[in-house]
C-alpha cells in the first residue's frame, strides 16, 4: 500500500502540481486526440514543457529589472508606479499559480466549446496567449479571495469560457464593418476598447476621410516593432524617474537605496538604469519566446478539437487580423492611445490618484500598440481619420484607468509594478473580483449571476443585432466579393 500511496503522491505533488509538466501532458493529450505520430506527440509535449520553463526564466529577468524601477518611481513621486505588460505579469504569476492556471485554461476552453455548441454564440476563440492570460488573471483573483483550487478551476473555467464567446459576439458588428463582412470574428481581450473606439469614432467622424487615403511618414515604421517600441519607452521611463529621484534626494542617498556601488557617479548611474530598461525588454522577449513555444503546440490542437465539436463556427482571432484593412489607422490609433494614456496619467498623478488611492499607470507600449492600433482601425471604419484618432484616444484612457482599479483585486500580485494591460482584463477582472469578494457561497452565486447576465446579453445581441445584420453606420463599405478580388490582386 505504501508503494501505491508513494506513487500517487509523487504523481500529484511532483508531476501534476508542476505547471511545466502539466502543460506538457495536456499538449500530449491534445496531440494524441488529433492522432499525431508518436514522435510528434513526444516532441510537442517536450517543447511545451520547455516553453513553460523559458517563460519562468524570463519572469526572473523581468523581476530583476522591475525592482529598481519600483524604487525609482516611489522615490521620485511617492506613489506606486506600474507599467502594464501582460506578458510580464502573467509570467510572474506562474510560479505560484501555474498549475491552477493550466487546468483553468483547458477546462475553460472546453466550456467555451460547449457554449458555442448549445447557444447561438458560435464563436471559437483561438488567440491562445489571451486565453492563457485571462486564465491567469481569473485564477489569481479567485485564489486570492481564498477559494480552494477545485472551486477556482471549476468557477474559473466557467468565467473564462463565457468571456471567450461573449466578447467576439459583442464586437462582431464593428468587426464586420472593418473587414467588409469576412467570416472572421475578433478574439482579443481588448474588445471593450474596440467597441468604444468604433462608437466614438462614429460620433465624431462625420465626413472624415479614411486614414488609408493619406501618405504616412515612413520614419515612424520602426514603432511597428513592439520590442523596439518597448525598449525605447522603458529607457525613457527609467531615465526620467531616475533623474527626478536623484535630483530630489541627491545622488549619494539614491545610490545607497538602490544598493549600488558607493563609487557610482552620474554617468554610471544613468547607464545602470539604461541597462535595467533594456533588460526589461530582454525579459519580455524571453517570455514571448516561451509563450510562442507553448502555443505553437497547444493552439493547433485546440483548433483541431474545435473543428470537430463546433463545425462551421466563426473563428475569433488575434487583433492584428484587423491591421491589413487599415495599416495607417494602426499607427494613428497607437499614437492617439499613448496620448490618451499620458493625459490620464497626468490626471491620476495630479488629482485623482491621491483621492482614490490609485497607482500611477505608465504607458506600456505593447498594450498601447496592439489595442490602440486596433481601436484606431475600428474608429477609422466608422469615422475616418478623426474616428481613428478619437478611437485610439478613448482606448488609451480606458487602458490607463482600468488597470489602476484592477490592482485592488489582484492581491500580492497587485504590488508587482506591472499588471494586465488590455481593456477586457480590466473590466472583467474588476467585476469578477468584486463579485468573488462577497465570501464563500455568496461569491459563487454572484459569479453565477454575472455569467448568466453576460450570456443572456450576448445571446440577445447575437440574435437581435448580429444575425439581424446591423452594421454601424449602415452598409458595409467594401462588399465581400470586392474584398476577395482585391485580396487576390494585391500579391
Amino acid at each position: 500500500m505504501d508503494v501505491i500511496r508513494a506513487i500517487a503522491e509523487f504523481l500529484v505533488k511532483d508531476v501534476l502540481s508542476q505547471p511545466y509538466y502539466l502543460v506538457g501532458l495536456m499538449t500530449a493529450v491534445g496531440l494524441i486526440a488529433l492522432r499525431k505520430r508518436t514522435g510528434e506527440v513526444i516532441g510537442g509535449a517536450l517543447k511545451a514543457t520547455l516553453g513553460f520553463l523559458i517563460l519562468v526564466a524570463g519572469a526572473n529577468v523581468v523581476v530583476a529589472a522591475l525592482e529598481p524601477l519600483g524604487k525609482l518611481i516611489l522615490g521620485a513621486t511617492g506613489a506606486q508606479g506600474v507599467v502594464p505588460t501582460n506578458e510580464a505579469i502573467v509570467a510572474l504569476a506562474q510560479s505560484q499559480y501555474g498549475a491552477t492556471v493550466a487546468w483553468t485554461m483547458i477546462a475553460g476552453f472546453l466550456v467555451s466549446l460547449f457554449i458555442a455548441r448549445v447557444t447561438p454564440l458560435r464563436y471559437v476563440f483561438l488567440t491562445g496567449h489571451h486565453i492563457f492570460f485571462m486564465a491567469t488573471m481569473i485564477s489569481v483573483i479567485l485564489l486570492t479571495v481564498g477559494y480552494s483550487t477545485l472551486v477556482a478551476v471549476l468557477g474559473g473555467a466557467v468565467l473564462l469560457g463565457t468571456i471567450m464567446v461573449v466578447m467576439p459576439a459583442l464586437t462582431h458588428p464593428w468587426m464586420k464593418k472593418v473587414t467588409g463582412g469576412e467570416r472572421v470574428a475578433m478574439g482579443h481581450f481588448g474588445s471593450l476598447g474596440y467597441i468604444l473606439g468604433g462608437i466614438s469614432g462614429q460620433a465624431v467622424g462625420k465626413g472624415s476621410r479614411s486614414t488609408e487615403e493619406m501618405k504616412f511618414p515612413q520614419g515612424l515604421r520602426f514603432l511597428r516593432e513592439p520590442m523596439v517600441a518597448t525598449a525605447v519607452s522603458m529607457v525613457v521611463i527609467y531615465i526620467i524617474f531616475a533623474l527626478i529621484f536623484a535630483a530630489r534626494q541627491g545622488l549619494g542617498p539614491v545610490v545607497e537605496q538602490l544598493g549600488l556601488d558607493p563609487a557610482t557617479n552620474w554617468g554610471s548611474f544613468v547607464m545602470f538604469n539604461v541597462l535595467q530598461a533594456l533588460n526589461f525588454g530582454v525579459g519580455v522577449a524571453l517570455i514571448l519566446f516561451g509563450v510562442r513555444t507553448i502555443l505553437g503546440e497547444i493552439v493547433p490542437a485546440f483548433a483541431g478539437i474545435a473543428e470537430r465539436v463546433v463545425p462551421g463556427a466563426l473563428p475569433a482571432l488575434d487583433c492584428p487580423v484587423a491591421f491589413p484593412y487599415a495599416p495607417n489607422a494602426v499607427i494613428i490609433g497607437f499614437l492617439a492611445s499613448v496620448v490618451g494614456g499620458l493625459i490620464s496619467l497626468a490626471l491620476i498623478s495630479s488629482w485623482l490618484g491621491a483621492a482614490l488611492g490609485l497607482a500611477l499607470i505608465l504607458p506600456g507600449m505593447v498594450p498601447h500598440f496592439f489595442t490602440g492600433g486596433t481601436a484606431g482601425v475600428f474608429g477609422n471604419a466608422t469615422g475616418g481619420r478623426r474616428g481613428a484618432m478619437v478611437g485610439g484616444f478613448v482606448n488609451g484612457v480606458l487602458i490607463t484607468f482600468l488597470p489602476a482599479f484592477l490592482l485592488f483585486v489582484l492581491g500580492d500580485l497587485g504590488f508587482a509594478n506591472t499588471t494586465f494591460g488590455d481593456a477586457d482584463f480590466g473590466w472583467y477582472g474588476i467585476v469578477v473580483g468584486q463579485g468573488a469578494q462577497v465570501s464563500d457561497v455568496g461569491g459563487v452565486v454572484v459569479l453565477g449571476v454575472i455569467v448568466a447576465a453576460l450570456l443572456t446579453l450576448a445571446i440577445w445581441f447575437q440574435r437581435r443585432v448580429v444575425e439581424a445584420g446591423w452594421v454601424p453606420g449602415g452598409a458595409v463599405t467594401v462588399p465581400e466579393a470586392e474584398a476577395k478580388t482585391r485580396a487576390k490582386t494585391t500579391a
Binding site: R221, P300, L317, V321, R486
Partner: protein, 97 residues
Amino acid sequence: MVERVKILAVCGMGLGSGLLLRMQAEKALKQLGVEADLEVADIGSARAQAQTADIVLTSAELAQQLGDVMAQIITITNFVDLDEMVQKLGSALGREA
C-alpha cells in the same frame, strides 16, 4: 523527391496571427501535397530566422519592414482566406491543388 521546404510565418509578436498563418499554411500544403517544416517568428527576430527559410509568410506591412531577405516573401492580405493561401503558396512552389 524535393527536399523539405522550410516556411516561416511572421507577425508582430509571433503569437497570434503568425500562428494562424502557420495553421492556414499547413492546411494549404496538405491540399497541394507538399511536405514542409513550419515555424513562427516575431518581426524582431524574423530577419535572422529568414536566413534559413525558403519562404516567408507575412502581411504587406511587415514584409516592407522585413526588407530584403534571401527567402521568398509571400504577403497574405486575408489571413482567413484559404484559397488565397493555396494559390500563393502553390505558385511559389510550382504546384497546383
